[in-house]
Amino acid sequence: MKQLFAFAMIFIAAPLAAQNEDLGEAPPEGGAIEIVEESEGLSGSVSFEGNLDDLGIAIPAFATDRNVPTPANQSGTAALGIELARVVTANLRNNGLFEPTGPDALPRPEFAQITSPSWATWSNRGAEMLVHGYVRGRSDGRLTVGCYLYDMALQSELVREGWVVPPADWRRAAHKCSDLIYSRLTGESPFFDSRIAYIAETGPKDNRTKRLAIMDSDGANHRFITTGRSTALTPRYSPDYRQLVYLSYVDGNPRIYVYDIGSGQQTLVTQSENPTFAPRWSPDGRSILYSMAVNGNTDIYRVSAQGGQSQRLTDAPGIDIGGSYSPDGSKIVFESDRSGSQQIYVMDANGSDQQRLSFFGGRAATPEWSPRGDQIAFTHITGDFRIAVMNTNGRNIRHLTNSWQDEAPTWAPNGRIVQFFRTERNSGATGLWQVDLTGENERRLPTPVDASDPAWGPILP
């Protein structure tokens, strides 16, 4: 009897072990961020009236009242203040925003000057805007970081905010500060305080190792989730950043798994012998879309993030795949070859009223609804693969890139930037790139190795 029980235990445990055998060490769960100095909203207009690209911003080191040790920096809070200003400067510069000057080229303000700038010190430096900040070690080990934006011509404060962060999350305070400056000066929603999941690629073209990896929006805090023993593809962060869905060949077949960041465990999105592809979250995180092939015919299904019965949303012969919800969750844009070639369609969230959107010539694939709701980004295939956007009614196509193979767009949380991956001809080398909605500021994101399938999450909770 005991033997039988032991056998049964092994039998039950085995599939779970196989399911998890490609997983590395689980990443730490993020700490909570507390806002201590609420922004008071818009306080008067900005004096600068030129092109925002030319707006000079001075970002000296953040001051500290007392240099104290912190796990965030081995030299203490004074050195951390320089790092904070460097992160803010790099964020703005790398995204082609404004004309930032960082702490390495500027004098260092005193702690008392943060709320009362020494205008004379900054007025002859040609900057229209001044950023001041401070960092303080708290008795509970956490850090308080404050961020202030001043208009030099008006000699007045435009906005301020402060945050209490665990030391491990100090970079998030710099991202919050970047977002505060960006939003105040452009009127756009924030995007820096967010993360990206993607696939890290190494090895020769015919034997690539593909690992699930995550990083902050600026490439910092990079972590591999899987070891690379099995091929991993197409990840997506849950809106609360607690889970990732992605495709893994860990049991030898392509299957969608839900990976829990807290526990480091993963489960199949649906108990089926059929292959599953192309997972996507609903904006509220309650549902997962996935595509499943049955006898070679692929359709789109919806399942509760808690599991349970799946609902089939498409039943056209051919390949229906992918899917991206409108921000209000009422519609889904997806890809289908029911007309004979890959094209973009839209349907209601329950699968009804399916209509074709793309009539541009060539093929149209991988649609992603903008978080602002007004645009759909996709891959337009006419010989070469280009990233394009269109209105949600299928009109007004605009190409954002022009290269041999750019695919799989993903939106910045504020819908102003599109990220994608670019594959090089012959070598098969891949990298993450991003471009503004205007087609400007195209740049490659730094990743430790080759990279594909970027998925940009929302603003961190």
């Binding site: 890809e335 041999w404 193979q405 799989a408 594959t423």
Partner: protein, 172 residues
């Protein structure tokens, strides 16, 4: 040879030949002489791997017959593919204890998700053809690798044609 299998293969060969003609007749013509490759010798040579290995399968049907190819974005079994699959069908009919896998692949000129689905569709097209020859579906597993596992590494039409494939694999 299994007589049911022999009858099936004749009928399928007829269909394949009929498909080659410009206008298929309403009624099928009388069965022609079998035009497909003669049945390979099932006896393994001294150098051959044991039954149940990919080596044994390849030696028996010929390496070229273990892989079928597809046109861009297509998944239909053409005449050349059907001849190859008939060879495979004879082998798997003779060795009725063998289970095997058909791996579906695409070229690199497609988006990742779609190519996974397309590779699955190709693997299933090959599987369905073998099932039509009398091989039980329960013996055939399919798996799609999409564009993830090319055999030819160039970025040109010749390489792409080699990568759009369904490969039958005996895994022991």
């Amino acid at each position: 040879m299994n007589t049911r299998f022999a009858a099936t293969i004749l009928a399928v060969s007829t269909l394949a030949v009929a498909a080659c003609q410009k206008k298929p007749p309403e009624e099928l013509p009388p069965p022609p002489q079998q035009t497909t490759t003669p049945t390979p010798a099932p006896t393994a040579g001294p150098a051959a791997g044991a039954l149940g290995t990919q080596q044994h399968f390849t030696n028996a049907v010929g390496a070229a017959n273990t892989v079928v190819y597809f046109d861009t974005d297509r998944y239909n079994i053409d005449t050349s593919s059907s001849a190859k699959l008939q060879n495979q069908g004879r082998y798997f009919s003779q060795h009725s204890n063998l289970t095997f896998t058909i791996e579906g692949h695409t070229d690199e000129r497609g988006t990742r998700d779609y190519n996974l689905a397309l590779g699955e569709r190709r693997a299933n097209a090959a599987k369905n053809y073998l099932v039509s020859l009398g091989i039980p579906a329960s013996r055939i597993r399919t798996v799609s690798y999409g564009k993830e596992r090319p055999v030819e590494l160039g970025s040109n039409p010749t390489a792409w044609a080699q990568n759009r494939r369904a490969a039958s694999v005996v895994i022991n």
